[in-house]
């Protein structure tokens, strides 16, 4: 499973989403879009919007911290 989390350090939702994935033993790539402009542009292209977090699970895009959708995809 390939999981990417597009996040910023100041976003509470992002920390919660990452913690949740860790609790579920899901390994993910953490992309800080406040520092990584390529990742930021990638995120906007994939999700069509500028809100974080965005979670990419095998190409399925979740905007926000949505436990149910995460559960259904991991």
């Amino acid at each position: 499973m390939n999981v990417k989390v597009y996040s910023t350090p100041t976003c509470p939702w992002c920390s919660m989403a990452k913690k949740y994935l860790e609790e579920k033993n899901v390994t993910y790539e953490d992309l800080d879009v406040s520092r990584n402009k390529d990742a930021a542009s990638d995120m906007v292209n994939k999700s069509g919007q500028r809100g974080v977090p965005v979670i990419d699970i095998d190409g399925n895009i979740i905007v926000g911290f949505d436990k149910d959708r995460i559960d259904s995809l991991i």
């Binding site: 919007q49 974080v52 926000g64």
Partner: protein, 290 residues
């Protein structure tokens, strides 16, 4: 540090407090005198009153009951809620810490009727400056609001850009003394707003006097911060302007519960009191599990 902080001092919040204080939990209630119940002259369908009771009297008695049992009530406005190890609740003048938090702020305000505000959500319109502010590095942003909450959001955005305007949408700025000096640092535009426009992302804000300005981002902080605003920032799931809770009033965030009108459903004193009791009991269980 409080065991339980309750935001809102209507029937749901006060009812929750009755349970938490009686379980010896250090309980703080933060709220303003703005319960919808204050305007109700006659309540005839609440159990236990042979004669109709005024909403104001019922609330007053509820407050006295909670205080008698040991709760502390602070009358002030909550500006923001942050969850780190504990919940940090920032008010106009103080920051409180709580191990558990119960949101009981009543019926959310009606959505702002500005054309395009929903269409551009996530595409220039944001409800979370700390989450999305960085996307607007050195760009032109606005904060939609007219109270302390708007100034607080504008201050958070100064980490990303200096070009910040507070758009009051026809209201006069209504700022407490604490935020007066800070608000002087921002441009203020009091014109009523007609619509937002753009192609893929937000580009312009149009006013009812037929003028318009270019804009890259709008952060919504309208009126007083409500449960829905806190929910958006904390990552609590909502549906149609109501906070989603399970049967025991638990939200999707550990230690955070919600009760009463902010959770939607049947908006009655009796249901608010019942939900408050459930939230209080669940908060007790949560604190004891720590």
């Amino acid at each position: 540090m409080y065991d339980v902080v309750i935001i809102g001092k209507g029937p749901a919040g006060l009812s929750a407090a009755l349970y938490t204080v009686r379980a010896n939990l250090n309980t703080l209630i933060i709220g303003k005198n703005d319960s919808a119940l204050l305007k109700t002259e006659k309540i005839e369908n609440y159990f236990g009153f042979a004669e109709p009771v005024r909403g104001e009297d019922l609330l007053k008695a509820g407050e006295q009951q909670a205080v008698r049992l040991g709760a502390r009530i602070v009358e002030t406005e909550v500006i923001s809620v942050v969850k780190n190890d504990f919940f940090e609740i920032m008010t106009n003048d103080e920051v409180f810490l709580g191990k558990a938090l119960i949101l009981a702020t009543g019926q959310p305000q009606k959505k702002i009727n500005i054309q395009g505000i929903d269409e551009f959500e996530g595409k220039g319109v944001s409800y979370c400056s700390t989450c999305d502010g960085f996307f607007y590095n050195n760009l032109k942003v606005g904060v939609l609001g007219f109270k302390d909450y708007a100034v607080h959001e504008a201050m958070e955005l100064t980490a990303f850009t200096k070009d910040i305007t507070i758009y009051t949408n026809g209201s006069k700025l209504d700022i407490s003394n604490k935020y007066k000096d800070e608000s002087a640092g921002f441009k203020v535009n009091e014109k009523p707003i007609e619509r937002l426009s753009g192609t893929e992302f937000l580009q312009n804000i149009h006013f009812k006097d037929s003028t318009s300005e270019s804009i890259d981002g709008i952060f919504v902080a309208y009126g007083s911060a409500s449960s829905i605003d806190f929910a958006r920032k904390l990552g609590i799931l909502t549906d149609n302007n109501s906070i989603l809770v399970d049967k025991s009033q638990q939200t999707n965030l550990d230690g955070l519960f919600a009760a009463g009108d902010c959770t939607g459903g049947f908006k009655q004193v009796s249901t608010a009191v019942g939900q408050g009791a459930l939230a209080g009991r669940k908060a007790i269980e949560y604190i004891r599990s720590l």
